[in-house]
């Protein structure tokens, strides 16, 4: 199939923040492509670049092989369905849909024909004269889709179009959108933060985080073979634990060495171990298996969601059979159910460079603290080792430092936070939940910071 649109090494910054960092993507004609990621990941910006509402700082946007970086939106053969529909409130349904055709100055009769048949496709026949603000959310949504599709674009961009609808309506609209896409053959690029929606509708899913594409592929591949803990966490539910790769196909978890299919990580490397909750069977306990105790059961309609305490970690298990709270169970899964991933943060502790800035005073990242009896002369560089558990997440008012939360992953016992400040990442273990892609405040336990002489070189 022919490439309809290609993004090549797109970089876009806004007020010093990198919104998109070297994004490359190619979309083939007739595909249903979904950009998936948490808010602030750059998916909407990517869409706006394709639509012509944003211009990349670097990189090329190609449409059917032609560079269109500087082509204004009204000259692109692309139409958009906006997040809050953006219908024209002063026009009725017919005039909203006819807007683009009237701009093209088509004959009246043709406009009428096309608008009416499009309204039929979106199931709004007979609504022509209604004012758009008297329509329900789902009807407005369909007007917006009709208004975009009536222009017969080669590419339709949809920016979280179902976000404002309730669950039931959203499910119906998902199916309807897929039908429309199949009927019209138009290429859809769809933005959502709802992973289920993405997996349901798409031919290709592109997972993004912090302006970087994490993984792209068929929904099944993304789900079954997530490339890192972020993707695993974001797509579906997962058990993600800290493990150590002892050797190829040997991973240490919960005090046991388990056999897996992955390799190439080197020896004794810390890794993330991912096991999908539905891949674990609960069986009677035995010596060969990890065993634990059921601590919670929730009925989810199709399956039961159970929490099992095992090896100091909380495991999430999906099963159609319920096990009562308090029951001792064995956890059964095969080597192919264990997915090994590179950790998001290299190492298990934070090593920072600091400097002695006064008598018994040390400064790092614009934070100063006193260490009585340090006895080092002013200006001496030192190495500070901070354990992830010795950093506390607090409100920004009480913080030593304000940092940007890049990711938060539940590791069975605590949340693993990776934050970004002043050009370096920090690893934090916390029991609190925080909104990703926001600024949070942190405090250090100064007494627990280990100070060592600087060994040279730059450590992040």
């Amino acid at each position: 199939m022919a490439k309809l649109i290609e993004l090549k090494n797109i970089v876009l910054s806004y007020e010093g923040d990198r919104i998109l960092d070297n994004v490359s993507l190619s979309i083939e004609s007739g595909q249903f492509v979904t950009l998936l990621g948490p808010s602030g990941c750059g998916k909407t910006t990517t869409l706006r670049i394709i639509g012509g509402f944003a211009t990349p700082d670097e990189g090329d946007v190609l449409f059917e092989g032609k560079r269109i970086n500087d082509l204004p939106p009204h000259k692109r053969e692309v139409n958009t369905v906006f997040q809050r529909y953006a219908l024209f409130p002063h026009l009725n349904v017919f005039d909203n849909v006819a807007f683009g055709l009237k701009i093209q100055k088509l004959p009246r009769e043709e406009i009428r024909q096309r608008v009416l048949s499009m309204l039929e496709i979106v199931d709004l026949k007979g609504f022509e004269k209604r004012r758009v603000n008297r329509l329900s959310g789902g009807q407005q949504q369909r007007v917006a889709i009709a208004r975009a599709l009536v222009n017969r674009p080669k590419l339709l961009l949809l920016d979280e179009p179902l976000g404002a609808l309730d669950l039931k309506l959203r499910r119906d609209m998902q199916l309807e959108l897929m039908n429309i896409q199949r009927k019209t053959g138009v290429t859809f690029v769809y933005v959502t933060h709802d992973q289920e929606e993405a997996l349901t509708m798409s031919d290709v899913v592109v997972v993004m985080k912090d302006g970087v594409i994490q993984q792209q592929g068929r929904p099944e591949d993304i789900y079954n073979e997530p490339e890192n803990a972020f993707v695993a966490d974001f797509i579906g539910e997962s058990n993600i634990f800290d493990g150590v790769m002892e050797a190829d196909c040997k991973v240490r978890l919960c005090g046991r060495t388990l056999t897996c299919l992955d390799g190439g990580f080197g020896e004794n490397r810390p890794v993330d171990v991912v096991i999908r909750p539905e891949d674990i069977d609960l069986v009677p306990p035995s010596d060969e298996l990890l065993t634990g105790e059921v601590t919670g059961v929730v009925f989810k309609g199709v399956h039961y969601e159970m929490a099992v305490q095992c090896g100091g970690l909380q495991w999430l298990i999906h099963s159609t059979d319920a096990h009562p709270v308090g029951e001792q169970v064995g956890l059964s899964f095969g080597p192919d159910d264990i997915h090994i991933m590179k950790r998001l943060f290299e190492g298990s502790e934070n090593v920072l460079r600091g400097e002695v800035t006064g008598e018994d005073e040390v400064t790092f990242c614009d934070v100063s603290f006193e260490r009585p009896g340090l006895g080092l002369p002013e200006g001496t560089p030192v190495e500070l080792i901070i354990q992830p558990g010795d950093i506390e997440v607090v409100s920004i008012d009480h913080a030593h430092l304000t940092v940007y939360l890049e990711s938060l992953i539940y590791k069975g016992d605590y949340n693993e936070l990776v934050v970004w400040t002043g050009g370096r990442s920090l690893l934090i273990h916390s029991y609190l939940d925080q909104q990703v892609a926001t600024d949070i405040g942190i405090r250090f336990d100064f007494d627990k910071i280990r100070i060592a002489p600087w060994k040279g070189g730059e450590t992040v």
Binding site: G52, F53, F82, H90
Partner: protein, 636 residues
């Protein structure tokens, strides 16, 4: 709903009363037979009739409408563009621009007005040109702009930002997209901004006052200069009409609003007819605005055509100080224009100081002015007046001998007297025990709390000086200090210091004694037979207003012709019958009816006049001392 209770109703009633009582009083007095502001003597519609005959009021009314319409239309376009720009700014620059926008709204108008005037005068000196309609328009657009911006911005903020992008996305280029999808959404804000700007522009006095040079008058400016001595009841009539028009508009708008509120029910059925009222209102609006523009355009075309061919004479006079052609009288200005084939640009002032300041500021240029005695002597000493060529003013021969040379213009080279009068005591015969013949009566404790006194320093000191036997033009410090003590002494018996209110207070018997001008006293006596007037034995001020030509006049001989014309017997008669002051012209005097000629209030005998002298300009330090002493007296 909460119950209001009796105190609540009383409170609301009081609020409504204070809000509306003044307006109803005004409307009532617009039907008053007499010019009095205190007594209702009978019902009449004559003020309404004469209002429409008054070309000065009507032309400034059209000026105001045209100015308000143009200024608010320009402000509407510029303001909308500015608002769109501001809404697209980043937060910080938007805050800066918004504060800059607010500043003119918060800035006192007087500051805006004066700074505008300075700028225009500066530019005028630099680039040439005259202040007038153009400068007023610029000033009005300037102060109207923030109101448009402030009413459009919230509409833009409510707007879904993706609407504009949606239009672009559907193939519409940016500019048509603005007109097709943004404009319809913010039109109500634009319209209310326009309306606000329109009312502010129509209303404005202070800024217009400073920004208008000679030759362009709006209604507020004209009204202000007309109310020098007493409110002309035509103004009451005009105010009543304006109030009723505004009230009608308000009711219409509310009706339309109420219709609109019911509209969704109709939309529910898929019916989208615009309410009839709204259509009619829109059509009516278009017709009104269109006819205003058409009328103004025609008028301007005519006057423009005239300007091209005819010389223009500019005259700066007191309000209500020339015969205007009402009730079949002579329209002096029109008659002069016709007879001499020229155009007269006629502007008004309400005090000598206002006229002086305007001429000094350089924002205006006039040919003829009519100041009072002391102001003429100041203007002569400051070289602001042209010596007159009396070859062009043969009618000056007709002046009574007394007025051929005066205290302020001893050789009679610069001025030709227009009107004169004395200052005397007006008293109510039913409230005094015997007829007073001395200024002493104003210190008489028997009339304690029934005595009124001039509230301006020069007139007040003049009375004290007379009483103590000094010259009313004295510069002697000891004499002035003595007068100040005398005036302080008077406070114990005074009711209040007043100026124009003497007319009302004496008219309805609220005070027994007051000093006042003879011409006005005669008018009051005609309405209240209990009143009498006397020029006290110590003598008094003889005030003279005289016609002069301003230094630098480009139409000096035409100006002299105008002065001569004003001295024609029938012209002088028309003016003096309109103004009710005394004429300095012998032949006009002889044309007057016998009753007037024999009226000792207006034309006192030689003996009385010999006791009077005129004010001359005092040295700066004397003026300052007098003002300081006066402030001290008032403050105590």
């Amino acid at each position: 709903m909460k119950k209001r209770g009796i105190p609540g109703w009383i409170w609301m009633g009081a609020v409504l009363f204070f809000l509306y009582a003044p307006i109803f009083v005004l409307i009532a007095f617009s039907f008053n037979e007499s010019k009095s502001r205190a007594l209702f003597t009978g019902f009449t519609l004559k003020w309404y009739k004469s209002l429409f005959d008054n070309t000065l009021i009507m032309s400034s009314f059209w000026n105001s409408l045209m100015l308000a319409f143009l200024a608010s239309a320009i402000a509407m376009v510029l303001g909308t563009m500015a608002a769109v720009g501001i809404s697209k700014m980043g937060r910080r620059s938007r805050n800066v621009v918004m504060n800059i926008t607010y500043l003119p709204v918060l800035n006192p108008e007087i500051v805006t007005g004066i700074s505008m005037m300075l700028l225009f005068v500066f530019l005028k000196n630099l680039l040439g040109g005259e202040m007038g309609f153009g400068t007023v328009l610029i000033a009005h657009v300037t102060f109207c702009l923030p109101y448009v911006i402030l009413s459009v911005l919230p509409k833009l903020r409510q707007l879904d930002p993706s609407i504009f992008e949606a239009a672009l996305d559907l193939g519409c280029p940016p500019v048509p997209a603005f007109f097709r999808v943004i404009l319809p959404q913010i039109s109500s804000g634009i319209l209310s901004g326009f309306m606000m700007a329109f009312t502010f522009s129509l209303d404005d006095f202070i800024i217009t006052y400073f920004a208008a040079g000679s030759g362009f008058k709006t209604l507020p400016i004209t009204i202000y200069s007309m109310v020098r001595k007493k409110v002309n009841p035509q103004i009451n009539a005009l105010s009543a009409i304006i109030f009723l028009v505004v009230l009608t508009l308000l009711i219409l708008m509310n009706l339309a609003e109420a219709r609109k509120a019911r509209r969704p029910e109709r939309a529910e059925q898929g019916v989208l007819h615009r309410p009839v009222v709204q259509r009619v209102a829109a059509a009516a609006g278009v017709v009104v605005v269109g006819s205003v523009v058409a009328v103004v355009a025609v008028k301007n075309y005519q006057s423009g055509a005239l300007t091209g061919e005819l010389p223009t004479l500019s005259v700066f006079n007191w309000g209500e100080y020339i015969s205007t052609g009402e009730d079949g009288s002579l329209d002096v200005i029109a008659a002069f224009e016709e007879e001499y084939g020229c155009q007269v640009q006629y502007d008004l002032y309400s005090t000598n100081e206002e006229m002086y300041t305007k001429l000094k500021s350089g924002s205006v240029q006039y040919d003829v002015v009519i100041p009072s005695d002391y102001m003429i002597s100041r203007m002569i000493s400051e070289d602001m007046l042209e010596p007159l060529n009396f070859d062009n003013i043969p009618n000056a021969e007709d002046l009574m001998d007394r007025f051929k040379s005066t205290d302020y213009d001893p050789e009679g080279r610069y001025s030709v007297p227009y009107t004169w009068g004395t200052v005397g005591l007006i008293y109510n015969t039913t409230m005094v025990e015997e007829a007073p013949d001395s200024w002493n009566a104003l210190w008489d404790s028997r009339y304690s709390r029934n005595i009124l006194m001039f509230s301006n320093s020069r007139d007040a000191f003049g009375i004290a000086e007379r009483l103590l036997g000094y010259s009313q033009n004295t510069t002697n410090e000891a004499e002035l200090l003595h007068c100040a003590d005398k005036l302080k002494e008077q406070k114990a018996v005074l009711q209040t210091y007043v100026m124009d209110e003497i007319f009302d207070k004496m008219g309805i018997g609220e005070a027994a004694l007051a000093p006042y001008y003879a011409g006005d006293a005669a008018t009051m006596m005609a309405e209240n037979p209990d009143l009498q007037f006397v020029v006290p034995k110590e003598g008094s001020n003889l005030f003279i207003d005289a016609m002069c030509v301003v230094k630098g006049s480009k139409q000096k001989s035409l100006a002299e012709t105008f002065i001569n014309f004003m001295c024609e017997p029938e012209v002088g008669l028309a003016n003096i019958e309109y103004i009710c002051y005394s004429t300095p012209l012998q032949s006009v005097y002889e044309l007057l009816d016998e009753e007037t000629r024999e009226n000792p209030v207006i034309y006192p005998d030689e003996e009385t006049l010999s006791r009077c002298e005129s004010f001359v300009d005092l040295p700066v330090e004397t003026n300052r001392l007098m003002q300081d002493l006066w402030n001290e007296i008032i403050a105590e």
